[in-house]
Structures are given as C-alpha cells and as structure tokens.
C-alpha cells in the first residue's frame, strides 16, 4: 500500500476506526441474526415475540414450507435466467450508451439531447396501466422479456456510469489511442471497459439486485404461476387474507403465524446475493488505471 505517516494520532485513529466499523457492522447484523433466529423458531414463540438471537423451539418448518413447494425450484431457475439475461442486456446497452454520453458536448453534438432524453424518464413515469398496455400489445406477457426489457435501462445507473467514465478514464490515454488510429469501438473496448472495472462491478451488482428483488412485474405480467420468478413466488407463500370476512378454516389458521415464514424468505432471497457480493468486491482493486497506462 501507500506510504503514510505512522504517527501516534494516526494509530489512535486506526483503532478508533476499527471500533466504529465493527460497531456499525454489529448494528447491521444483529437484527439479521434475530430474523434468522425467528426463521428457525416455532411459530408460537415467534408470534409472542420471545425470540432473541437464538431460535426458540428449533424447527425447519418455515424453510420446508418454502423450499418444499414444487414451484420453488422452477421459480429459482426463472430468477437466475432473469438475473443473467436482464443484467447482460442492461449492462450491454447501458455501457455502450454511457460511453457515448461520456464524451464532451463539443466532441459529440447530440449528447445533450440524449442525456436529457434519459434524465427525463428518471422523473416522469407513465404509470402502471399504460406500461402494462405496451407490454401486452407487444405480446410480451408470460415471457421473460416482460421482466427484462421494460426495466433494462435505469437512467440513474446510466448517469452513474457516465460519471464514472468521465472521472476515471485519463484523457491522455484516450488521446494516445486516437493518435494510434483507434475508433470509438476500440477505445470503448480496449480502454474504457478495463479501466472502469470497479464501476462496472458496482452497477452490475445494483442491476442484479434489482432483478433479483423485483416481484411486482412478475405478478402483473405472468399469468402462469410456473413463470413466476423467485421473488414473486415468495410473495405467494404468505397467507394473506381479509379476515374480516373469514369462514373458519383450520388449514389457513395453521399458516397464520407468518413471521417465521417471512423471516425464512428474507434469507432465501438474500442468500445468492451474499454469495455474489464478496465475489464482486474482488473487482474493487486499485491500480488498474496505472497498469493500463504502462501498457
């Protein structure tokens, strides 16, 4: 790493720093441990809220109920497909667009118009009904495209990418490439992409999380339960009923202590991200710019 003065005050700061970070991490993880404990607890204890950080009446019922459902595996596969396809399409389109938009107004005449074209959609939305009509008219309902295409371009992420490109790619490098006769495609491919790995990793992560978590579009656009992605499927597991008009039913009542099931869902839903995220973090490495410049 870089040289720095190992003064006393810095050492004190370092200790303090570790303490603060560990404390924040603890604050973030304790509620999660509590939820994990609830998910492994008996429903009676969960309803009474007597579960702390350790399960009471340990049981796997909540997980059995979720994972044991025959649609679970299918939903998981649907979700994986959605994440892979959705993230690839999003990233491909957004990275290309971000490259063009990262040029100066001077170098790229239409830039401003394009930029506002995207910014506008960040703030103005047609709403559920017309979007649904467009998707239906295109015949996308009940297909994976209804889940990946409408949300493919996030203007927010696009703007972040543009700014990452602008701040992290040294102008000198680009000019050198132009002198060597490179065209835009080559510059994009050879210079922008390798240099912006941390940014690409970040935005890819956001996009993945978005696709993994979205459930509403699955509910609206999929007629067949078999096409539900996991997040939509998980929504169907909890019994939701208007009890004010209920006729008595043992089966329903048994399922009522939903707290355990909801807690289990959180972990089932978050688990893949827990696996992916540390992997993504590997891309947050310094020195790529330096390496590229030496080339």
């Amino acid at each position: 790493m870089y040289h720095y003065q190992k003064s006393l005050s810095y050492k004190i700061f370092i200790i303090f720093n570790y303490f603060i970070l560990a404390l924040s991490a603890l604050l973030c993880i304790l509620p999660l441990i509590h939820i994990l404990a609830v998910s492994f607890s008996g429903s009676a204890a969960a309803t009474a809220n007597i579960v702390g950080l350790w399960p009471v009446d340990f049981t796997l019922d909540a997980y059995k109920k979720t994972i044991g459902n025959e649609n679970f595996v299918r939903a998981l596969l649907n979700s994986l497909l959605r994440v892979v396809l959705g993230t690839s399409i999003s990233m491909a389109c957004m990275l290309c667009a971000a490259y063009s938009l990262s040029k100066s107004d001077h170098a790229f005449k239409g830039r401003k118009i394009y930029m506002w074209f995207f910014v506008f959609t960040m703030l103005f939305h047609g709403g559920l009904v017309p979007t649904y009509m467009v998707v239906t008219k295109l015949g996308l309902t009940d297909t994976i495209w209804a889940l990946v295409l409408p949300s493919a371009i996030s203007s927010f992420n696009l703007i972040l990418l543009v700014n990452f490109f602008r701040t992290s790619v040294p102008k000198s490098l680009e000019e050198a490439a132009i002198i060597d006769g490179a065209n835009h495609f080559t510059i994009f491919w050879r210079i922008y992409l390798p240099i912006s790995v941390p940014a690409i990793a970040t935005i890819s992560l956001f996009t993945m999380v978005f696709h993994w978590n979205s459930w509403f579009d699955g509910m609206i656009y999929m007629s067949n339960v078999k096409h539900y992605p996991l997040s939509t499927f998980l929504q169907t597991i909890i019994v939701q009923q208007d009890f004010s008009k209920m006729s008595v039913d043992a089966e329903t009542l048994k399922n009522l202590s939903e707290r355990t099931v909801k807690s289990a869902q959180i972990f089932i839903a978050a688990l893949p991200m827990l696996i992916v995220y540390p992997f993504v973090q590997k891309f947050f490495v310094k020195g790529i710019v330096l390496g590229a410049e030496k080339e």
């Binding site: 720095y4 924040s24 002198i179």
Partner: protein, 320 residues
C-alpha cells in the same frame, strides 16, 4: 533545458497533427449514435410511449372507456389535492423527512466509505462492506414488526439501554410526534447506507494513484491526503449522487412510513404517498394517483435541473 522545452512543444504539435489526421473519428459521430441506439429504443418503447398515460391526470379515467373516451376533467384532480385540508401538513412532512434522508444518506455513506478506505485488513474490510449492505434486503413489512418490538416503551431493547444509561423515562418512539421523524430517518439510513457506500468506494478505487504519490512526495499525511486528494477526486460523484437524489425530494419512503405510522403520529408522519394510498383504497381509480404523481414529477424535475445548474455554476461540473 531549452532543447527539452523545444522537444516537448514539438511532441505537442505532432500530437495535434495526428489528432487532426485522425479527425474523422472524432467528427464522424455515427459510432456514438449507434452505441446509443439500443438504449434509446428500449427507453422509447417502455418509458416514452407509456407517458401518454399521463393524460389520466386530466381525466376521470374509467378502465373500460380507456384513454380516448374517458371524460375530461381538466385540472380538477390538482385542485382536489390543494383543497385537501391536510395538504400543507402532508407536503411539509414529506419535505422534512425526505430532505433529512437525502442529506444523511450522502453524509453517512461518505464517512463510512472514507473510514473503510483506511482499513488495510482486506478480510475485515470486505466483511464490513458486505454486512452493511445486507439490511437493504429486508422488507419494511418485516422490519416494521422488529422495530415496534425494539422501540417498545415496555421492555424494548432501545429503551432499556437508554433508561439504564441516562436514567430517563422510556420513550414511546413510534407514538410520539417529537420522535417519529427521527426514527424514520435513522432507520432508513441504517437500511440503505450500504448502497451509496458502494458507489463511493467504487469512486475511491478509481482515483488515479499517481495523485497520492504526488501528495506523498509533497509530504502530505494521511489526513491531508484525504482532504486534498480523496475528497476533491470524489466531488464529482458526490455532486452526481446529490443532484440525482433531489429527484426524491417528494418521495419520503412509502413502504417504510406505511409500516411504521399510526394515528398517533399522523401529524408528523403522514406523507403524500400514504395519503394517496388511502385515497386510492376508497376510489380505486388511477386518475388521482396519476395527477399527484405528475405534480411530484414536475417539482422533482425542477429541482434536479436547479441542482444541475448549481453544480455547473459553483463546481463547474456537469452532472449529465
């Protein structure tokens, strides 16, 4: 010495010549247009075409009549919004809660990213980074339940700690108008700060290491490096995140408030979105919600444009 300058100016001239020679690449921007095309098509189809739905805001939209035949009501829905007795209260609550959230959701993650940057035990750094991102995956439905328990004036963990530390009377956080907004802002920052932390960390990683090397040569210590290299290098991304979050000035967090608020704190906790939600439960039509949404969009748009102008004027940075 002189020859060196001469040589340097010579290379500059050469560079410029070569640049000119290769000028078609720069002037001929069809490649740039082409690279934008897929994104533009998708956005046009799925974002711009549905915008016709905004006409609903000026109609009494009846689903079976559609956009063409539903009766027009002009600005009636907008009038209803401002004639609503509690409009001032609801808008005010929204503004206070959302602006506090905007500020703290930048300051806290920024501090966090800077602190994380001082950690050289990679395992520790990555673990903390992962953990603070985790609360993002929790839904407010389940968090609502947990918070009610944790903040309970009768034996909730927070009150127990406060009572034993400061010897005060237990605080009814979720039922007290003096505390409700604070709780909302703190829990939101807790849940979402991992998101911006990642953005800021990515920005820190992208800083050109030569800048640090130069600073070290100048004898800057770690603190000075942070103030004179890291922060200025991050300024663009901070401005970007700040300007973009201005778009949320009228979104105070629907899911969160819906799960935490209650009649005791309507006075400080009721926001535009929860109000529209309650109206929607009664009249089920899309028109009023669309009208309020359009109003929110216009205000947000004005603010984002203002933020963009200010950033350009004072920081000389173009966000878009």
């Amino acid at each position: 010495m002189q020859t060196q300058t001469h040589l340097e100016s010579q290379t500059v001239i050469n560079k410029k010549k070569k640049l000119k020679k290769n000028g078609w690449n720069l002037r001929n921007t069809w490649q740039l247009h082409a690279m934008l095309l897929p994104a533009v098509i998708i956005v046009f189809i799925f974002q711009y075409i549905p915008l016709f739905g905004l006409v609903m805001a000026f109609q009494d939209y009846e689903p079976w009549l559609g956009f063409l035949h539903s009766p027009w009501v002009g600005l009636d829905h907008f009038k209803t919004m401002f004639e609503y007795e509690d409009a001032r209260q609801v808008i005010w609550n929204t503004l206070i809660i959302s602006s506090l959230k905007i500020v703290f959701n930048i300051v806290v993650p920024l501090a966090f990213a800077l602190l994380l940057n001082e950690v050289y035990i990679m395992k520790f750094k990555r673990t903390v980074q992962t953990i603070v991102y985790l609360p993002h995956f929790l839904s407010w439905v389940i968090l609502g339940g947990i918070l009610i328990d944790m903040l309970s004036p009768e034996g909730g963990i927070v009150n127990r700690v406060l009572v034993s530390l400061f010897n005060i009377k237990p605080i009814f956080f979720l039922g007290d108008n003096d505390w409700f907004r604070t709780v909302v802002v703190i829990t939101d920052v807790w849940k979402e700060c991992g998101f911006n932390t990642i953005v800021f960390l990515a920005a820190i990683t992208s800083i050109n290491p030569t800048l640090y090397e130069a600073a070290i040569v100048d004898g800057a210590n770690r603190w000075q490096q942070t103030v004179y290299v890291t922060l200025p290098s991050m300024l663009p991304i901070i401005i970007v995140v700040g300007t973009l979050s201005l778009g949320n000035i009228l979104n105070a967090g629907f899911d969160q408030i819906l799960n935490l608020y209650n009649p005791l704190v309507y006075k400080t906790g009721d926001i535009i979105d929860t109000y529209v939600y309650r109206v929607g439960l009664l009249n089920g039509d899309f028109s009023y919600g669309t009208a309020v949404g359009l109003f929110k969009s216009i205000i947000s748009f004005i603010l984002v444009v203002a933020g963009y102008r200010l950033a350009y004027k004072y920081a000389n940075y173009k966000v878009f």
